[in-house]
């Protein structure tokens, strides 16, 4: 087996990530391969240096800063609505609305309808003097006019009786023919 094929296993071995059986195989190979011994020691050294470089303490102020930012955000979110700053920005708007409602006219007066003037389109002037063709009118059906019913003269009937002192008049209103 080429030593390049051992690289992955050596890298896992350096961090203690191999199962015991596979670790034993690697140790067996290391015992007889100087190149892989060098490679493995380089891996271990690199890993130790990296761990050492990151094994540091951060300034406690950095943690406190995160804590205070989180706390401030949570307090902002939990604040009741009347304690939120933007609510107070709405106060002048609400006051203006209330004033507008209070001083509005007590009786509503309907506005006058707008005056509409009919404007006819001026006749087009033909430069050659040809009178414009009037637009076609829809055909009209002529109907016989119905005679108007006029109330007629009342009918007066005079009935003469045998008694010369008694005359009977019968008046009847005549309707139309």
């Amino acid at each position: 087996m080429n030593c390049t094929d051992w690289e992955e296993r050596l890298a896992l071995y350096a961090g203690g990530d191999l199962a015991p059986a596979k670790a034993a195989e690697v140790e067996h190979h290391l015992a007889e391969c100087a190149g892989c011994q060098l490679f493995a020691s380089g891996l271990r050294a690199g890993l130790e240096l990296l761990q050492d470089a990151h094994d540091e303490a951060l300034d406690p102020a950095h943690f406190a800063a995160v804590r205070s930012r989180v706390r401030a955000q949570l307090e902002r979110e939990r604040r009741p609505f009347w304690r939120r700053a933007w609510i107070y920005g709405l106060v002048p708007v609400a006051a203006a609305l209330m004033v507008a409602v209070a001083v509005r006219p007590s009786r509503w007066i309907a506005p006058q309808p707008p005056e509409v003037a009919m404007v006819h389109q001026p006749a087009a002037v033909d430069p050659w003097g040809v009178p414009p063709i009037p637009p076609a009118q829809p055909a009209r059906v002529r109907r016989k006019p119905r005679p108007k019913v006029e109330p007629g003269e009342p009918v007066l009937v005079r009935l003469v009786t045998d008694n010369p002192d008694v005359v009977i008049y019968w008046i009847s209103e005549r309707r139309g023919e």
Binding site: E7, E8, A11, L49, E56, A57, D59, H62, V66
Partner: protein
């Protein structure tokens, strides 16, 4: 450093019952209890984010998002019972989202923010330079390789835990870790051959 060490650092005094009662109180709206919970996990979240992003400012933004998500999902976390696993997963995702929104401007620019334990100024500057270079080596890795290496070799999770956090198979994580280790080795050797 193992996961157990991390958890011991995260919660030095509180047992699972105490943590449960703190979560319950925070869920009921007690911000003091939630702050206590943040204190338990802030090192884990901020340091992981810093290792993944390489910028303290970005890491603080990611941590803020993580803890806000924690507050909004306390019920889910309470039932899952594995708060550190949940936080690692959310931290990796928050860093991924932040990286997409803000492309890297200056790699590892906040390496100097990390307080060195060395007292001697000359030694301190050499140490800081070495740290900076080693932290820079993480930039050579792909995002997935970096996440796998940070969680396995720097945070001390097991391969199985890393696979669960990243939502990958153990075989994939093993492959990513081995590639990352070989790349870091190559970078470190090239750098020290050139500069030392």
């Amino acid at each position: 450093m193992s996961t157990l060490t991390l958890l011991a650092e995260a919660a030095p005094m509180d047992g699972p019952e105490d943590r449960g009662s703190i979560i319950a109180a925070a869920k009921a709206g007690d911000l003091e209890a939630f702050e206590q919970l943040m204190r338990q996990y802030e090192r884990m979240v901020l340091v992981t984010a810093l290792r993944l992003l390489g910028s303290l400012h970005d890491a603080q933004d990611a941590s803020q998002e993580v803890f806000l998500k924690l507050y909004r999902n306390l019920g889910k976390v309470e039932t899952s019972g594995n708060i550190s696993g949940w936080l690692y997963r959310v931290t990796v995702n928050a860093c991924h989202d932040l990286r997409r929104r803000r492309p890297v401007a200056v790699p590892m620019k906040d390496a100097g923010e990390l307080a060195s334990r060395e007292a001697d100024p000359a030694q301190q500057s050499a140490e800081q330079e070495r740290r900076r270079v080693l932290q820079l080596s993480l930039r050579m890795l792909s995002e997935k390789e970096r996440a796998a290496l940070v969680l396995r070799d720097l945070e001390g999770l097991t391969t199985e835990e890393v696979a669960r956090v990243l939502g990958s198979s153990e075989a994939t994580v093993r492959s990513q870790i081995s590639k990352a280790r070989v790349k870091v080795k190559g970078f470190v050797e090239r750098y020290f051959r050139r500069h030392v």
